[in-house]
């Protein structure tokens, strides 16, 4: 009998309920947020600010945000 994989995946430490995207917004600009799973951050594209999600808990106080570096487009 194969035991190479578990039947149910272990929840990720930084799991985020994406259903929340229908309710949440940037606390400053009030625009919609984008979930960046790779960095576990919620991105406000309007302000170019990222808010962290730590062990599934979004940190959405304005001072929790960090400015994203300017990207060349």
């Amino acid at each position: 009998m194969s035991t190479s994989t578990d039947e149910s995946p272990v929840p990720q430490a930084d799991s985020f309920n994406e259903d929340l995207l229908g309710f949440l917004c940037c606390p400053i600009s009030k625009s919609l947020l984008r979930w960046d799973a790779a960095h576990s951050e919620l991105i406000c594209d309007q302000l170019k600010v990222a808010f962290p999600v730590v062990t599934g808990v979004p940190k959405l106080v304005p001072s929790d945000g960090r400015f994203l570096p300017e990207e060349s487009t």
Partner: protein, 281 residues
């Protein structure tokens, strides 16, 4: 009337050290217990109070209110009248006491386990209070499935307009720097017809009770804080912050000014605590 700046360059001017600050904080003073401090400082100092008291917060509530806070919160949830599929927001409710009651009540009203259950978002500006709340809640409890936890500033909520059915805040408004801003945000995020409910200690009560209340709050509570939590100063702050809170009539006017209607201030337990409510029309 303060409005958040619409353009990004204004926001960049407000940013300090690459981190954003709530715009209003930098320009005003606020009361912190019996002191006046710069508003930008109040949030930090209040944060320190709540990080210190978090582990013993609910025990402290029991002692400060002789267990009455449980009854008051029960009444709050009853007035809220949770319904199946409700999306609720509890603000400054870090340890999750009110939120878990709301979640249990939503489930109690839901006959169909397959139907949309709704959600209860608990937010608090202090992550230590939230962590304490999460630690206490049994993850296998049915209400845990409805709970969402996040840090947020009541004066700048990270929620879309008209997105929640109910908004509660229990013993949290007096810690806020700009109450008018918090009330406007509450109005913004509620859907039309949604209810705002706020439980808060009254700064003054009837004279007969007042002397007893003063003696108890000034002499006994800080000592309890010292013994229970080894933190007399924080509990002095908590007592003093009640004294500086607007009078119930003034607070009711502030709720009206924020746009709520059918505003009511209901006195509980001889006027020690008020339940303020209003609806978004």
């Amino acid at each position: 009337m303060h409005r958040l700046p619409a353009n990004i360059s204004a926001l960049l001017r407000l940013a300090q050290n690459g981190r954003l600050q709530s715009p209003l904080r930098q320009f005003s003073t606020a009361s912190f217990g019996s002191e006046d401090v710069a508003a930008s400082e109040k949030a930090g100092r209040v944060g320190a109070v709540f990080s210190s008291v978090a582990p013993s917060y609910d025990l402290m509530n029991d002692l400060m209110s002789a267990g009455l806070h449980r009854l008051w919160k029960g009444w709050l949830v009853e007035q809220l009248a949770p319904f199946p599929g409700m999306h609720h927001l509890d603000v400054a409710g870090g340890t999750g006491d009110v939120a878990t009651r709301v979640a249990r009540d939503i489930l109690a009203q839901s006959p169909d386990p397959e139907a949309e259950q709704g959600s209860v978002v608990v937010c608090d500006i202090n992550p230590d209070m939230l962590a304490e709340g999460q630690r206490r809640l049994d993850p296998s409890a049915p209400e845990a499935a409805l709970m969402e936890w996040m840090t947020a500033d009541a004066e700048a909520l990270p929620l879309q307009d008209d997105s929640v059915d109910g908004y509660t805040v229990a013993f949290g408004v007096r810690n806020m720097t700009n109450i008018d801003a918090a009330l406007r945000e509450a109005h913004r995020v509620l859907r039309p017809g949604g209810q705002f409910l706020c439980l808060e200690f009254s700064p003054r009560t009837n004279p007969a009770l007042q002397r007893l209340y003063d003696a108890y709050s000034h002499h006994v509570i800080p000592q309890i804080g010292r013994v229970v939590a080894n933190d007399e100063q924080s509990y002095k702050y908590l007592v003093e912050s009640i004294r500086r809170f607007p009078d119930p009539d003034l607070f009711r006017d502030m709720i009206w000014d924020a746009g709520f209607r059918r505003v009511r201030a209901q006195s509980l337990t001889g006027g020690i605590v008020y339940l303020h409510s209003g609806f978004k029309s």
